[in-house]
Amino acid sequence: MENADWLDVTASVRGDEDAYERLVRRYEKQITSLLWRFTRDPVQCEELVQQVFVEAYFSLKTYRGDAPLLHWLRRIATRTGYRFWRKKAREPQEMPLPDFEIMEQIEAAEEEERIDPSEAAAVLHALLARLTAPDRLVLTLLYFERCGTQEIAERMGWSRAKVKTQALRARRKIKEIAEREHLLERLGWTL
């Protein structure tokens, strides 16, 4: 663990608010980037990031320093995002794929590099939103965060076997959804 982190953690536990503010500034970008995978609404994302840092502050005494602080924060953030999805799943919602205009922009791209990353993320986000929360979580972490099954299991407190089964099932479902939406044809990637 980085010395600066450990110093700021111990100072924060003693009640030094400036030290905690330094920690927030240091890791805010990474946590925001992770939670952006859970919601693309800036207001909701900001709220989630705040929740993560507030929860982390009140749990700081339980942080033993075995793993880097960022790993610990990412675990809290992943669980916060997952709780957010589960809460949202109770409300009826229908997230359509990005409209035709956006798809046309993607279609116009000849190579992968020419696709706007934001549009690619929006399409992927909309596709993943059609899955259940556990399936969506596993694929989000696999696709966006490049997490391995072991890391997903650690973050969520699940068994590795459960993550593997979930990933297999989720991949099958997302494939069906993408084929139903003629995704490759719309992206011009059929060849």
Binding site: E112, P117, A120, A121, L124, K175
Partner: protein, 87 residues
């Protein structure tokens, strides 16, 4: 191209997306201060609630005891009067 391969390709591109930066260290600090205050005000409230519950239990216990020893006023009317020698 396989669909899953296409999705992986899309994900590769999506990972390069620039995510927003909010700059919320100050907001987090304010929220922590507000939640700390809330938890402090909840402690005396919980203490007061606990004491009230204990007091109510004692009163209830005493009430039950008194009820068991109390005579009914109607029974007093029909019960034979103790014989009193008038002379």
């Amino acid at each position: 191209m396989d669909t899953l391969e296409g999705l992986a390709k899309l994900a590769r591109r999506a990972r390069e997306e620039q995510t927003p930066v909010f700059g919320m260290a100050e907001m987090v600090r304010l929220r922590i201060q507000s939640e700390s205050r809330q938890s402090v005000t909840l402690i005396p409230l919980g203490l007061f609630g606990g004491l009230s519950a204990v007091a109510a239990s004692i009163i209830l216990f005493m009430a039950v005891q008194f009820w068991q020893y109390m005579n009914s006023p109607i029974m007093e009317l029909v019960a034979p009067l103790p014989e009193i020698r008038l002379w």
